[in-house]
Amino acid sequence: MIKFLQGNEACVEGALMAGMRFYSGYPITPSTEIAELSAERLPKVGGKFIQMEDEISGIAAAIGASLTGKKAMTATSGPGFSLKQENIGYAALAEVPLVIVNVQRGGPSTGLPTSPGQGDVMQARWGTHGDHPIICLTPDSVTETFYLTIRAFNLAEKYRVPVILLTDEITGHMREKIDIPDPSEIEIYNRKRPETGDVYHPYGVEPGEIVPRMADFGSGFRYHVTGLMHDETGFPSNSTENARKLMDRLMAKTVTYRDDIIDYEALYTEDADWLILAYGGMSRSARAAVKVLRQKGHSVGLFRPISLWPFPEEALSALAGKVKGILVTELNYGQIKLEVERIACGRCPVEFLGRGNGEVITPEMLIETFEEVAK
């Protein structure tokens, strides 16, 4: 079905198709449309929407709902993402599937509430205290917002990891044509649940499986969930050996299964001797710039991480060994640039064009910078 939607609306359409039946959140610009549309749509499909008293309870209620077996989502922006961090860590340690949408705006603090920014990319990776696994996906269009929201739910269910859908004010508020597929065309992953009668170890992984099976609260498996380090039974344990085992297993999720999680777009990279690296809303300018630059005779490609975390490290590393340089562009002061420098590891120069004033970097600005650095 062809529709003309905002990115934020496409996010809700994707979430519903993925099976979202619970949304809890708090109003904040520029993500509010996600809450508004969820409020309208969820009760019509027997789902639940609740506007909580603050951002913290917005994610807390979603975690509670997920424990009863519902697919749950919360959405926020800027300051709200900061407030949600503690419970993102809870979901990571307690392995509660959950989708957190962050429609990035200009920061820090209240910053620029109605303008785009990409200053939360490192917070998306390391925002909560302590080491933890996280998956973060970032779309560059309305259509991709729809599909990545579905993917976010699928990955959350499959790996029992909180998944952050990191959009920005550009993709969130932009309207584009979108062809919404029939649900039968969409692959949906549902968390594995224990079978009735099983001896249930809520944090023990069955042989040949990826993560522990997850029982719904109320389904007859009375188990304990805690944000303390716990053993396979789910109960707290102070054992350092146990903590090592648990942390190793959690941290391995996005490493062992990275090939299933990592996603990126490589455009004109086969023959490229330069790369422009951009992601999310900024890749729209970068794509336009790359096309113009190629018309002008530059052998340049676009590398666009779609999963920011885990980062498409191996693919970028292979390219970094071949190209003369990489120009990173992002709406911040160089957060992903650091990651690219780490991966390039001195094999090619990493140039940078960024800003954090709420303005988009235009294709013209990128073309000008590229022609300066790639002389």
Binding site: A60, A65, T68, N87, R222, H224, T226, F235
Partner: protein
């Protein structure tokens, strides 16, 4: 031989609990189990949610669906559990600091919504887990590790706070008055809207020692001598009410419950 109530409702392999000798928390936890038993609830349909603190360790010992959350957020997690699955009987265990300081916002809003959660506040007037700092219910003038010269804060009355915010059931009781506690917790769980039982507890280790309140027995005796039912107090002459603390069932009214209202909304949209 173990008590049959313990065998039925507790995870025996997780006991003994971590609480100090003389702590009231075990008394309140047992009262919750007795209330569940008398109501004949199916253990599979009971969910106990807590935050962080001494009292919040209780769910680990109790054989239900149990959720030990982040500091202050028990009611917020519980709101999600209850709204997502209203068939669950959701009971929140929270200390005075957890519930009325860091979690105060969730308390007033859960009460305002009249969502069918039962909150049992284990109020021992102190932060025990962190070693004896003053909480929002530490009486003015009392000492704590962070109030070495006496607390200048004015304390909350958590029961009144909940009533003011819209709780449709609220009672206050002490760890000494166990018969009343059993009755109030049973009524609170059976109640259809937001209910709160504030259970005044003693912390001989931190609050008691810091304020020279004597042994656990002396502290319990103080509760016995100073707390009277507000209905009894109303009949006493002013001189006999002097220095008394009031307890009892302060409110018990029917009002539409939140998750039922939401389910009605879903039904309405089907037409």
């Amino acid at each position: 031989m173990n008590h049959p109530l313990a065998e039925s409702y507790f995870r025996m392999d997780k006991l003994p609990h971590i609480w100090c000798p003389g702590c009231s928390h075990g008394i309140i936890m047992a009262s919750i189990a007795r209330a569940i038993d008398r109501l004949g609830l199916d253990k599979d349909n009971v969910c106990i949610v807590s935050g962080i603190g001494c009292s919040s360790r209780a769910p680990g010992y109790m054989d239900f669906n149990t959720l030990h959350t982040t500091h202050g957020r028990a009611l917020a997690f519980a709101t999600g559990v209850k709204l997502a699955n209203p068939k669950l009987e959701v009971i929140v265990i929270s200390g005075d600091g957890d519930l009325s300081a860091i979690g105060g916002n969730h308390l007033i809003h859960a009460a305002r919504r009249n969502i069918g959660l039962t909150t049992i506040c284990f109020n021992n007037n102190i932060y025990g887990m962190t070693g004896g700092q003053y909480s929002p219910t530490t009486p003015t003038g009392d000492k704590a590790t962070t109030a070495p010269y006496g607390n200048i804060d004015k304390p909350f009355d958590i029961t009144k706070l909940a009533i003011g915010a819209g709780a449709t059931y609220a009672a206050k009781v002490t760890a000494f008055h166990v018969t009343q506690m059993d009755k109030y917790i049973e009524s609170a769980i059976a109640h259809k809207g937001f209910s709160l039982v504030e259970a005044i507890a003693v912390c001989p280790t931190y609050y008691g020692r810091k304020n020279r309140k004597g042994s656990a027995v002396e502290m319990m005796t103080w509760l016995k001598d100073h707390y009277i039912d507000f209905k009894v107090a109303e009949k006493l002459p002013p001189e006999k009410r002097e220095g008394k603390e009031l307890m009892g069932e302060f409110i018990n009214v029917d009002a539409p419950e939140y998750t039922a209202l939401y389910d009605a909304l879903i039904d309405r949209l089907k037409d």
